[in-house]
Symmetry: C2
Subunit: 370 residues, 2 copies
Amino acid sequence: MSSESQSQTQTPEEKAREQLIDLAAEFYDQFAGGDIPEMKLPTRTKSNIEYNPNSGVWVYGDRTSTRSANSVRGARKLLKAVYTIEFLANQLEEDRSSTLRELYYLSESWDNNEAHFSDQDESNQLVEDLEIVSKVTREDFHMRPEESGATLMGPLKIKEQTRRGEREIHCQEDVGEGGYQIPNNPDTIEFLDHDTDFVMCVETGGMRDRLIENGFDEQYNCLVVHLKGQPARATRRITKRLHDELDLPVMVFCDGDPWSYRIYGSVAYGSIKSAHLSEYLATPQARYVGIQPEDIVEYDLPTDPLADSDVNALESELSDPRFQTDYWEEQIELQLEIGKKAEQQALAARGLDFVTDTYLPERLDAMGVI
Amino acid sequence: MSSESQSQTQTPEEKAREQLIDLAAEFYDQFAGGDIPEMKLPTRTKSNIEYNPNSGVWVYGDRTSTRSANSVRGARKLLKAVYTIEFLANQLEEDRSSTLRELYYLSESWDNNEAHFSDQDESNQLVEDLEIVSKVTREDFHMRPEESGATLMGPLKIKEQTRRGEREIHCQEDVGEGGYQIPNNPDTIEFLDHDTDFVMCVETGGMRDRLIENGFDEQYNCLVVHLKGQPARATRRITKRLHDELDLPVMVFCDGDPWSYRIYGSVAYGSIKSAHLSEYLATPQARYVGIQPEDIVEYDLPTDPLADSDVNALESELSDPRFQTDYWEEQIELQLEIGKKAEQQALAARGLDFVTDTYLPERLDAMGVI
C-alpha cells in the first residue's frame, strides 16, 4: 500500500538524497551571501531531552549548539560533512549501501587530506549529526549498522524487498528453528498477513528458545522478537512498526535487574544519544512483563545479591525522567529494599514449563493482554 | 542418507541416553564391587593437548585427573553428576531440550539440597565433563547454548528438521538479506543440493554484508558464513560438516590482528578448553585468506599501531603449538616487525568494490581456490 503510493511520488532514496543536497545547498547559500557557513544542532545531553506528549516519546529540547567555519577546526568539520554528503548522495543514486566503518576508511580515498576522518568516533558522530539536521535516518542514507538485527518467530507473513527480488516468508512456516533474520533495514519489509495477538520481545536467547520449544508462539498467537540484549536499531524499528501498523500490543520480557530495565527503556523510550530517532524507533506503548522485583518475592525465585554497580544503576534510573512513573518507582524501590536481582531463566527453578504454563499466562492475564 | 540408516538402528537421542546411563551404571558397579566411585578425566591444559595426525586436530594427551567420592567434596560432585545424568536422560526421552543456565536453576528443584549447583561455572563444568566421559556432545544431550549461531547465504539448499516438521530452505532464494539463521543444533540440517564451490567464513557483519551486497556469493558460487567474531559451536559445526560432507574448501576471512588469528584457530584447530570436541567442531583444512600482515604492506592498508596487549597475544601465538607452522611464524614475525594491524573493512580505503573485485579474487587465485 504505502510502497505503491510512494512510487507515484518519491522513493525514500530520492527523498533522502534531496534532503542531503538541500543541506549542502544551505552551506552554498551562506557562502554566496557572504556569511560564514554553519550548522545548528540540538544539544545532546540528559538535561536537554523532554517528553513530547503528542508522540509519547522523549525528544531533544530547545538548546542548540553551532558548528561554524569561523575556526580551522570548525571549517574542517564542515568540509568533512560536505564530502560525506557527496558520498552519501552518490551511494543513494547508485542504490548501494555501506557501513559506518567503511565510511571511515573510505575517507582515506578522498582527494582532500583535510577531509580524512581522524578516527571512527568522528565519522560516526558526523553521520548522527547529518541524521539530525537532515531529518533522514541512517537507514535511509543506506548506512548499514555493524550490529545485525535479531530474529522473529510467530504467525506473521512478510514480504522483504531484497536486492535479489522480493521474498515472501511466513515467520513460522518458512523458517527453521532459528527464526526469520531481521534485515539491516527493516523498512524493506511489508507485513502481508498475520494471525498475531501480541508481540513478545525477549532479552535472552535461552528464554527465546524456551518459548519456541514450548510452542508459546503457537498457543498464544504471539510473535516472539529476540532482543539479544540491548536491541539493535533494526530490532527496535520493526517492533515499533509491528505496533503502529498492525496495532499489536508489545510486551517486553527481560531479566530482573537495572540493565534489563534499560533494555525495556530503549524499546519504549529510546536513548538519550538518539533522541532524534525516538519517533522512528521507540514504542512508548510497550509494556514491561517482567521479571519484576515483585516477582522475585512472589514467585520466590533464585536470586543474586545486588552488586554496587547494580545499586548505582537503580539509583540513576530513579532520577531518570523516563523512569519517573509510579510503577517504576515502586518496583525500583522494592528492589533496593530486598537487595536482590533475578534472571528470566531463574523461572526454570520451578520446572522448564513454568514460564509458559504459569508465569507468562498469569502476568499477561493480569495485564489484560490475554 | 545418514538419517535413514540411523533410523533403522538408533537415533542420536537413544544413543546419547544409553551412554549417559552407562556412566551411571559404572558408578553403580563401583559401589556394588565395594569400590569408591570415581570418574577419570583428561587434564585440560595447554601442556596436555597434542596433535593427532590421523584426524589433523589437537586433542587431549594422556594426563588424567580423577574425581573420586573419597572426600565430601568429591562425593558431592559425583552426586551432582548423577542428578544431572538423570535430568538429561529424561530430557532425551521426552525429546525436550534446555540451556546450561536453565540446568543451573533447575538444580534448585532437585530433592537433595546437596545436589544443588552453587554457581553456573560448576554446572557448565560438569556438562563439559560429561561430554568428555560419555563421548556425547552437548548438542546430543539437547543442551542448547546461550549464544546463537550465525547465518548462511549462498547456493545451498538444506532441509531442517524442526519440532514443527521439516523445512526445505534454499539459502539464497528462500531467505531475506539477513540470510538463513543456523539453528542451535545444526545436526538437524541435511544438505539437499548445492551449487557451491567454496565456503567463505567472514568475521564481521560489515564485511559479510559487503560480500552479499556485491553479489560475491552469486558470482563465485560461494557460501558466506558469518562468524560474528569468535564463532559459536553451531557455526563451527556446520562449517565442518560443509567441508566433510560436501567436500568444500573452507576459507576464513578476518581482521589482521592476533584476536582474529584466534578466530581462525578456533575454526581450524578448536580450542584448548574443548579439545575433546575437536573432531566434531574443528576443520583443520580451513585456510586463512586474510587480512595477512603481508597484505597490510602489499595493499598499503590504513592501520592502527599494535597495542601492548596485541604484542603479547602475538607472542603467545608464537609459542602456541597450533600456530607453529612456517606460514604463521613468518606472518606473526612480520606483524611484530611492522607494529601494525588492519581491519578487514580497511580495504574500503580503496573503494567499496575493492574487496570483491580485487583483493579476494587475487588471494583466492593465489591460493588455488578459483
